[in-house]
Amino acid sequence: MASATVIEIRGLSKSYGSGTKQTAALRNLNLSVHQGEIFGYLGPNGAGKTTTIRMLLDLIRPSSGSASIFGMDIRDHSVEIHRRVGFLPGELSLWEGRSGQQIIHYVASVHGDSKGITKQADELAKRLQLDTSKRVRDLSSGNKRKLGLVLAMMHSPDLLILDEPTNGLDPLVQQTFHEMMDEFRDKGKTVFLSSHILSEVQAICDRAGILRDGDLKAVESIEKLMNVEFHWVDVQFRDAVPEGLARQLQQSSEISDVAVNGSRVKMRLVGDFDPLLRMISDGYVKDLRVEEPSLEDIFLAYYSDGREAR
């Protein structure tokens, strides 16, 4: 059964400046994020990730296109939407002179049900090992990030929008964060997170969109992205690499990135293995390793000019 669409983006574009100085930050974005999934929004700095997120939260207005969250237009119903959304900005700024507790209390009172939310915040802070009695100016960047996560999650939102959530978090807390995201998804809630950390997206996301220079290049399930039709093949011969093999490999349309190192040959293979096995059969193959492409390989493939991952 198809799950409900939580985020629906239709032809969203954003440009900054005017006239000849106009710069497109995002072009004609179409995207749907479904209930109960963790969606990874991948791309390097300046790709348009934060612009998308800020438009979804009605902080900035689209140049064209529209978007809805929970079926409500992001501009017309921003207050109702924000009631059900938790947000962590990429660059979190808070009132430096106020303590975590004071900020939690303020944000909780804006959400209503201050008592229940504050209690939930205490539990989250305990889990993330955050001392909320300290003033923001006395918190390290990692602890500020933790406070941001507490503020985003304490009112039990139905949708979390997180911009580079693990920036500055130590590995142990990152692990806790991953667990929290899994639990969040298990409750049927949705996460939209932007990241440039591929391993993180690979570890916790169900689907990912890859953004480049304001264009969405691909949206796929992580499983499918990981199942692209290329592999890294590493062949170790007992003796020297058979004569002419390197040239033969380079001439093959299905093999690229051939690197010979002593009695080893490494290459990128697209498609079936049989043609390769026939080519290397002249030598004595001591070892043959096949590596699945990492998300990073896929990412680079999408980003390499004129070539996309197959």
Binding site: L57, L59, I60, R61, V79, H82, P89
Partner: protein, 268 residues
Amino acid sequence: MTGIVFANTLRTSWKQILYWGLGLGLLGFYIAFIASSSDIIQGYADLLASMPPALLQAFGASSVEILRSSEGWIVSVFVSEAAIFLSVFAVMAGMNITANDEQAGIMDVVMSLPISRSSYILERWIGYAAIGLGILLLCAAITLFGLVLFGVDAQMDLVFISILNLYPGALLVMTVTGLLALIVRRRALAIGLSAAFVVASYVFNLIGGAASGAIADLMQGLSFFSYTQGEEIVLGNYDPASTLLLLLVVLVGFALSVRMFISRDIGV
């Protein structure tokens, strides 16, 4: 509108009432001390009487006669100085409505909460307007206490009303600053333009009051200081239309601010 932002504004900024109210109040207290000596007042009035009218205007009085009464002296000397100091507070308050949080990046967090932009700016504006009123009340209380303590024979109600009459001008400066900050976006530029607005108003009032003719009248008419009628209150010539005009400009300025804040991108 929930009042939460308003309450939070007061909670985080109430100390400004103490700092500014005490500062201005001590100035009033000091003026009250001087006013306790009729010799000083008369000597001061005689000194100014021998000077050109423009200099008299620079000292905050339109005629020497008003300076000869205690309440007239207090209003002319103290209120005109307090108006300038209060303008500094008003510029800072205007920047605090939205600009400072926006510049610091805090607005991203605030505006992702379930609160509309119009409610937010309204509650912030009311919060700082309330702080401004608190400052004036504290200032008036300390000044009147000084008058009682030093046994100054002055009409307390007129002094009190004259001090409170600074409020519309302060609201105007605060609103203009808030609006400029929303338009120009750069904090330093907004402060500079607001300061220029206050200084230009002061200079226009000074020159317009000292000179005569259509241009001088126009200059004075363009200055918000000329609508602050401390002397008129003492002389019994108070014209509520001037105060209403200031409040009308405040209302229009605030309506423009709300419209601007609702329609623009935040933090870009």
